[in-house]
């Protein structure tokens, strides 16, 4: 592994050089005001220089990017349209940290054998691509999501569900046959914003940090050991080159200019850190120390971030907008709020090794309304089509080898405030299944006001760390959206793949 890091170091290019660590930027701002000799010295301390070295490695090579999937069990890789084709009634708080694909069959409220392929993505990789960088996403161990635009863009998520069903959904009309309806290619699309809610009560934060610190004491040992060796060697090289004294003199002079600001000094400090980086990789001995320290730091950060996620950032709040496009109805606009919180004990409390196998549970609540589009409004005369609420409890019991399924029990309630509008597209209306098209799009109003209750049991079986999961569910509905007075069972099955694991799968092939 160390050899791989050496290779990464050797192939580093100046064009991808990282920015100043946030800690250095903040201290520089303080120094401009305080002009304190201590702050000036600390700006050239080996801790900040090594932070820049580490950040530059991550920026250039994205080494050992860690998918957030193992840390979060509240990621939904399938359709977000609980009523339409999909395997999950409840919309979970998160989608994916990179890109995922799912194929699912079975609709909970619209009786049918709809099939859909859902592509979900995070906004951050898209932003990174547009910025000319590798679309590595956020992961769990790099600084991309800590500050700047990445901190806010990471919450943006989106998904598109494509209809895979043949456009021949029959709607019974009288005894003589029925209409055959055409399906839309895009069944739904969604944009959402996810906010991880930090614990805010100071007393609880303090307790959580103390517990996390206790859990981190052992993982920190290797990190500290390698970091101390690296910084000691780095300091020798920097001192021999007179880097620290020269840097301090340059900053002091620049800061003494009238009206000097931190923003004006940042390029100077960054240039000096770049020079320090060149010195840090100038000898074989130092390159080896850099590689070992960076690897140990990454391992520590993984554990640290998981501890923080489990103890401090346990709740999530998501707001999403979905445009739902059923094949037999006008377009609908759905606005929804999703809240999620873990239940019971915190897995991290029982130690790192046991955290992977300890049972965990979480509660997810959805609430939303669906609005008619212009066509629907003109047919029904109303604007708000329905309101929904959903409650789901996820439970991940002790793992069975590498398999750790998640069971979900969900209840969904939808109240149809208006009658549903049905729409038969001109090009697809073929009475009796024959090929005769109607002169124009036809519409009808079904007497469907009233409540709909759906219950669902679901299991999702992830296949180890491959990123592949197999969800299956069975749901029982008091009625369908368009057909009242008829209860029905519906089976759902699917397969999903989180491409956030791609880099991990490819890593062994790249290793020397």
């Amino acid at each position: 592994m160390a050899a791989r890091w050496l290779l990464l170091l050797a192939s580093a290019s100046a064009g991808l050089a990282a920015e100043l660590p946030e800690s250095a930027r903040k201290l520089l701002s303080e120094y401009v005001v305080s002009r304190s000799a201590g702050d000036l010295y600390d700006l050239t301390g080996s801790d900040l220089v090594s932070a820049y070295v580490y950040r530059r490695l991550v920026r250039e090579q994205g080494p050992e990017r860690v998918s957030i999937q193992p840390f979060r069990r509240d990621l939904q890789l399938g359709s977000l349209d609980g009523a339409g084709a999909g395997t999950s009634l409840v919309a979970l708080a998160g989608l994916t940290d990179l890109l995922s694909v799912a194929i699912e069959t079975g609709a909970a409220v619209r009786k049918g054998d709809d099939k859909a392929m859902t592509i979900s993505f995070s906004g951050l990789p898209v932003y990174q691509l547009l910025s000319g960088r590798a679309p590595a996403g956020c992961g769990s161990a790099d600084a991309e999501c800590e500050s700047g635009a990445g901190r806010w863009i990471r919450g943006i998520e989106g998904s598109v569900s494509l209809n895979l069903s043949q456009p021949v959904t029959a709607v019974p009309v009288g005894a003589g046959g029925g209409f055959v309806l055409g399906g839309r290619q895009v069944a739904s699309w969604s944009v959402r914003y996810e906010l991880l809610v930090r614990e805010r009560e100071e007393k609880r934060v303090k307790e959580a940090l103390q517990k996390a610190a206790e859990a981190l004491r052992e993982p920190a040992a290797k990190f500290l050991k390698n970091q101390a060796v690296f910084e000691t060697k780095l300091q020798s090289v920097l001192d021999a080159a007179g880097w620290g004294a020269t840097t301090r003199a340059l900053i002091q002079t620049a800061a003494a200019r009238p009206g000097a600001s931190a923003a004006e000094l940042e390029p100077l400090l960054l240039e000096r850190y770049r020079l320090a980086y060149s010195l840090a990789v100038s000898t074989q001995e130092l390159r080896e120390a850099t590689a070992l320290a960076s690897k140990a730091k990454l391992e520590y950060l993984k554990v640290q971030n998981r501890e923080l996620a489990e103890k401090l950032y346990r709740k999530a709040l998501t707001v999403d907008y979905s445009q739902v496009r059923p094949g037999d109805q006008p377009v609908q606009h759905q606005i929804r709020v999703v809240a999620a919180t873990p239940l019971g004990g915190k897995p991290g409390d029982v130690g790192e090794s046991k955290a992977k196998i300890a049972p965990s549970a979480s509660l997810t609540v959805n609430a939303g309304i669906t609005l008619f589009d212009q066509t629907g409004r003109s047919i029904t005369g109303g604007r708000v089509r329905d309101a929904q609420a959903c409650l789901g409890i996820d439970w991940s019991p002790t793992s069975w080898g590498v398999i750790r399924p998640t069971y979900t029990a969900a209840y969904y309630f939808q109240y149809m405030l208006e009658n549903a509008a049905m729409q038969f597209h001109r090009e697809a209306v073929t009475p009796g299944g024959e090929g005769a098209s109607a002169p124009r799009t036809a519409a009808a109003v079904a007497n469907t006001r009233g409540p709909i209750h759906v219950a669902q049991l679901r299991v999702s079986i992830p296949l180890g760390a491959s990123g592949v999961a197999l969800p299956a569910a069975v749901s029982y509905a008091s009625r369908a959206e368009l057909l009242t007075g008829r209860r029905f069972w519906q089976g759902h099955i699917g397969v999903s793949y989180d491409l956030g694991n791609l880099r991990r799968l490819r890593a062994p092939a790249r290793a020397p």
Partner: protein, 104 residues
């Protein structure tokens, strides 16, 4: 008790070899000291206390904070009093601070 360290003009901290030094953490928001390393030895629990070694050695302090950019101070503790040694800004990606100690 009295403080053991004094900051030199070059920014390093100087203390008498053999003197006992206790390190602490101060922050307006909750924070916790995880582990420290000094001169090849590590301490993982309170009190974070050690004897100053002769010559120059690095003191590394790993901490845990509540939010990125949180301002913290590594402090020297002497009885009920404490004095700031180093100010730094904690983040998840940069969870440690380093001080250069010189024992004379």
């Amino acid at each position: 008790m009295c403080f053991q360290l004094a900051r030199r003009e070059d920014g390093k901290f100087e203390g008498v070899t053999g003197a006992r030094l206790r390190i602490g953490l101060h922050s307006a928001r909750p924070a916790s000291l995880v582990r420290i390393e000094y001169a090849g030895a590590q301490i993982a629990a309170q009190p974070f206390e050690f004897d100053i070694k002769n010559g120059e050695n690095k003191l590394l302090v790993v901490v845990l904070g509540a939010e990125n950019g949180q301002e913290m101070e590594v402090v020297e503790v002497a009885g009920e009093e404490q004095r700031r040694l180093k100010r730094f800004f904690w983040s998840q990606a940069d969870p440690h601070a380093t001080l250069d100690l010189v024992g004379v």
